[in-house]
């Protein structure tokens, strides 16, 4: 306890030792520390019996990059999840066989997620990996076509056999789910790297004034705003900078004129109907040890128009932003929060979001902070 007090006292000195008065306060320290440490160890997924197995990871990497699983033989997972774009595609809305309703989510740190997709319609990574294979607007396959492709393509058949210890059997659904589990095994390894913020956070943790002072002042001011008046911390918390849940940001509710995107409300409905959720027959964990969220998730009217709180790590590569890709840049994201249209928020919804009315300097500071969450210079 004495050691902790000494540490905090040392850290508190940061505020007065800086050339410029530090905008951060002692009460910010626990919150700053809670953004790490980074990277955390990979979290096992007991619902996927091949999680962490090298042969399955190799097979998953191959599957991710092959177009053979799509209906027209030309679209791979990697077509929309491009490594150079943070495993996103740079488009406002994903385009597979047809244009989708939502922005393509970046793929990293997936083992830390509770729900998958902007609406959280899946509670595990392998179900989320199966979805685009079968979606008519994405890869347009079927359980039968996916299974047949794996059986009939020598390299895929060999990869399946290595990953699962036996060649693909006659049950199409079983083979397709196994394909998704191999895809998940590979994607779960995509851990984002350490960032300038992580260096600052660790310096704060060990009371290293000199190292902490190297974190740019603009980023410190942005962090103070993030934790303070901006209230960003309310949803963007923890090592992933996300609470893993869903919120209404006052964005337009229409996927296209006349058609509403129900967001989380639709996601929960899909989840509960899915054969591939953690309560279903394909969970490899007989104890259902990770199914608590699915058992208890509540479907309520307020979930209409709510979308997932994304991680804020590595945002630089994954523009555009928001579930509908309506913000081309992070500056536009901040403008949204600055000029928020409160009439678009549900009348009975959260009284949390108010227009921030950011000054130009505050906008620059928040951008500096967000930029410090990238793992590449």
């Amino acid at each position: 306890m004495k050691r902790l007090a000494a540490l905090l006292a040392t850290v508190a000195l940061l505020a007065v030792a800086e050339p410029l008065p530090s905008p951060l306060h002692d009460e910010d320290i626990p919150r700053i520390l809670a953004f790490g440490p980074w990277p955390p160890p990979l979290q096992p997924d007991p619902s996927n019996r091949v999680w962490g197995q090298p042969a399955a990871i190799d097979f998953g990497r191959t599957l991710f990059h092959t177009p053979a699983l799509s209906a027209n033989g030309r679209i791979a997972c990697a077509s929309c999840h491009q490594a150079a774009s943070g495993f996103s595609d740079g488009l406002p809305r994903g385009v597979g066989l047809a244009r989708g309703d939502r922005n393509t989510l970046a793929l990293h740190d997936l083992d830390l997620q509770r729900w998958f997709g902007w609406d959280g319609a899946n509670d595990n990574l392998w179900a989320q990996s199966l979805r685009p294979l079968l979606d008519a607007r994405e890869m347009g396959g079927s359980l039968a076509s996916v299974a047949a492709t794996v059986r009939d393509t020598p390299a895929l058949r060999q990869g399946y056999t290595a990953a699962f210890g036996q060649p693909p059997g006659p049950d199409d659904e079983r083979v397709a789910v196994d394909v998704a589990k191999a895809l998940a095994a590979w994607q779960a390894t995509l851990r984002s790297g350490r960032t300038p913020f992580d260096e600052f956070r660790d310096a704060v943790a060990r009371g290293d004034r000199e190292a902490a002072a190297r974190y740019p002042q603009a980023a410190q001011r942005g962090l103070a705003l993030f934790l303070g008046r901006g209230r960003c911390y309310t949803c963007h918390l923890g090592p992933s900078f996300s609470n893993g849940e869903f919120h209404d940001l006052g964005l337009p509710h229409f996927a296209e004129p006349g058609r509403v995107d129900p967001g989380r409300h639709g996601g929960i409905r899909k989840l509960l109907l899915s054969r591939y959720n953690l309560l279903g027959p394909f969970n490899d964990d007989p104890t259902r040890s990770t199914a608590t969220p699915t058992v208890h998730v509540a479907l309520e009217h307020r979930h209409y128009g709510e979308f997932k709180v994304p991680s804020l790590r590595n945002l630089r590569l994954s523009a555009p932003y928001f579930h509908d890709g309506s913000a081309a840049t992070l500056r536009e994201v901040l403008r949204h929060y600055s000029e928020l249209n409160e009439e678009r928020l549900h009348a009975d919804g959260e009284k949390l979001l108010v227009p921030l009315r950011l000054s130009p300097q505050e906008t620059e500071d928040l951008l500096a902070f967000l930029d410090s969450l990238n793992d590449t210079p």
Binding site: T234, N243, P293, H296, V297, D348, E350, K351
Partner: protein, 134 residues
Amino acid sequence: MRQWLLAAALAGGAASAWACGESLGAGRQTLAADGWQVAWRAAPSPVPVGKHFALDIALCAPAGQALPATLRVDATMPEHKHGMNYRPSVQARGAGLFRAEGLMFHMPGRWELVFEWRDAAGTPRRQSQALTVQ
């Protein structure tokens, strides 16, 4: 605090407040009103933000009154006018002991933890506790 709990307990003709939920061990918190007491302990403790947690609960009735077979547990964030995104399940374990699972506070701030039940006469009973999580 201990004297206040004792006074509240005696006013309701119940067992002493610190005896209620003794089996929950150290770290339990106790609410008392109208002779009823609710003792609870979170697992994990302290309650984390953005992660599921469970509650072990002991409900103690005033002397001579029967314990209910069921108990309802919920939580809301009054300032934000919303509840949890999850509906907890509550399992009765006998002798006034319950286990609530599936709770999650998805935001930091002030939450109100609510316990509701009906007494033997069918009268609704409610006790709540404010919790600030960071």
